[in-house]
């Protein structure tokens, strides 16, 4: 039991007002000693006082907005703690076939949103969190069991975006979601991006350390445009004069991570679906998780009680003598 507005409880002494102030419409009688004692009348008088006190008491309590504390119940289920790190760079709004021609088809972000929504809804006991990033990370949703919030967050990723891809920031923020959350035994970070960006050596080290410390496995889904460089291309010969393309460099970096790492390439919604299905399969381990049961709001119950008592008092008022004096 707790109060959202405990300071209002200072008004509680007001509930004693009916005891201090007498009824103003009391009738004058010549001599009360002439009225023989009547226990029933005294009882009714006492009950009326108590009802009046209770009315004020419940109103003040209701104003204080009482609620029960949220409860946490430990449950065991199949699932994982998954952080979704979504690319919100402008290129995600292109169709899979690329932006050069008059592209027809679902945009990458829409496909991603649709498939992730499906993914989210297919998972039972996951804790999901979400970060989007373009030129910097945007904190969208902490790790939560609330599916509705997650679906809403995925839907909210639609919108205008910037042209940069700051993967490093996205990954560190994504890892940050796991901070201060009890480890359920299965933690994964799904990075969904098209193309890649470069990460400074310092950030690389930070990412590697964090992922290792928090036991986060990494799934990277690259949305590749047809004709783009494939990270799985065995025949790719790097141009010794130029720096490695960012995708390859990032892939090489991810491979050096101490934790588990899987990479997928998706060229169309279908292959994206396959990649997500694969992750779905892999991240199914028994986990312990805490289910939060929200506290119940008791203020309306207080008001209802007060209303009932007021109705009762009104009923008694109706019984009151009007014809005398």
């Amino acid at each position: 039991m707790a109060f959202s507005q405990p300071w209002l409880l200072w008004l509680l002494p007001l509930a004693l007002l009916p005891l201090v102030f007498q009824r103003t419409h009391s009738k004058s009688y010549s001599w009360l000693d002439m009225l023989p004692p009547d226990p029933l009348s005294d009882l009714i008088g006492l009950i009326l006082k108590i009802l009046a006190v209770l009315t004020l008491l419940f109103i003040v309590l209701g104003l204080g907005a009482p609620h029960t504390k949220q409860q946490e119940i430990e449950r065991i289920g199949v699932g994982a703690q998954i952080a979704l790190v979504l690319d919100r760079s402008a290129s995600m709004d292109d169709a899979f076939s690329g932006s050069t021609t008059n592209a027809v088809g679902e945009t990458k972000s829409a496909a991603a949103a649709r498939l992730i929504t499906q993914f989210v809804q297919s998972r039972k006991n996951d804790m999901l969190g979400m970060i989007t990033f373009s030129n910097s990370a945007m904190y969208v949703l902490p790790l939560t069991e609330n599916k509705e919030a997650m679906v809403a967050a995925v839907r909210a990723t639609a919108g205008n975006a910037l042209f940069q891809t700051n993967i490093g920031s996205g990954l560190t923020s994504g890892a940050g979601l796991f901070d201060n959350v009890p480890d359920s035994g299965s933690r994964a970070l799904i990075l969904l991006s098209d193309g890649a960006g470069r990460i400074s050596a310092e950030t690389q080290q930070k990412i590697r350390d964090w992922f290792d410390r928090m036991h986060i496995s990494l799934y990277w889904i690259v949305l590749r445009e047809p004709g783009g460089i494939s990270i799985f291309d065995k025949n790719y010969a790097p141009n010794p004069d130029k720096a490695l393309p960012p995708e390859i460099e990032l892939f090489e970096f991810f491979k050096t991570m101490k934790t588990e790492f899987h990479a997928y390439e998706a060229e169309d919604p279908k292959s994206l679906q396959l990649a997500i299905d694969d992750i779905n399969r892999k991240e199914k381990k028994p986990i312990k998780y805490l289910e939060k049961i929200p506290g119940k709001d008791l203020s309306s119950a207080c008001f209802v009680l007060a209303a009932i008592i007021i109705a009762l008092l009104l009923g008694i008022k109706y019984l009151e003598v009007k014809t005398w004096h």
Binding site: Q22, S28, S30, L35, D42, I44, L48, E320, V321
Partner: protein, 287 residues
Amino acid sequence: MSIEDIKEFSYHIGWRNRGRHPGRHASTQRGMGMEFIGHTSLLNYPDPRRIDLRQTLRDPMEQVFVRLFNQKSATPVFVICDLSGSMNFGAKERKIRKAADIAESVARSATRNADPFGFVGFDDVVREDWISTASFKSHRAIELAERLKEYHPEPVSGAGIGDVWRYLPRERSLVFMISDFHMPLTQLEGALSNLTRHHIVPVVLWDADEYTNLPENGITSVTDPESGAKRTLFLRKNYRNKIIESFEARRKAIYKIFMEFDMPPFYVEGDFDADMLTEYFHQFVAA
């Protein structure tokens, strides 16, 4: 209310007063009355107008006799009126208003009988501002009674009744004591025992709304006008009967006390009827 509208009643007293002032009541005062009481010698009572020739001639000692008569004298009439909080009660007419009506009637009747009239009001103490000293001219007392009709008693008790006797003359007087007598019996007894010198007519003002005219059913809250205490009442047939019983018991109790002092009470419930007071004197006071 003009003076002519005030209803009078006739009263008499069953005892002889000693007032010097001529009036209408039997007296022990020698004077120009009609009541023959005996003879004495002219030397003792040198009033040659009253020489009784027949008695003088019959006396072998040849003394001169005069006849003695008692005059009729005026008797002071007083109203002592309760001004305590409970006198504010009354549905149609407040008791204090009714008391003022009765006081006016007494004042008017006293003037008609050539008796001086005085008024003493008391609540917690005897109220010096509600005193009108005995006077053969009743106008001042009637004016005071008119003011009394609009007076709203303060929330105090009627304990001053115990001191009223200090404000009455030593001479035996006819005293109308107007009150609802809603006071502890011991207090009433103590007050009456100091007033035995006088001829007291207790006028008991009760209101039917106090007990018989209570509402049938319902809940109400009542306040005591003197102590300010409050009580909630749940009126129902059973309880109403109990209240009526309580009042009947009270009526018996105060009747008993008054009769111990030989002061039969005169009850006024509802309107005051002056003729009933005339009837009272015929019934209880020997002529």
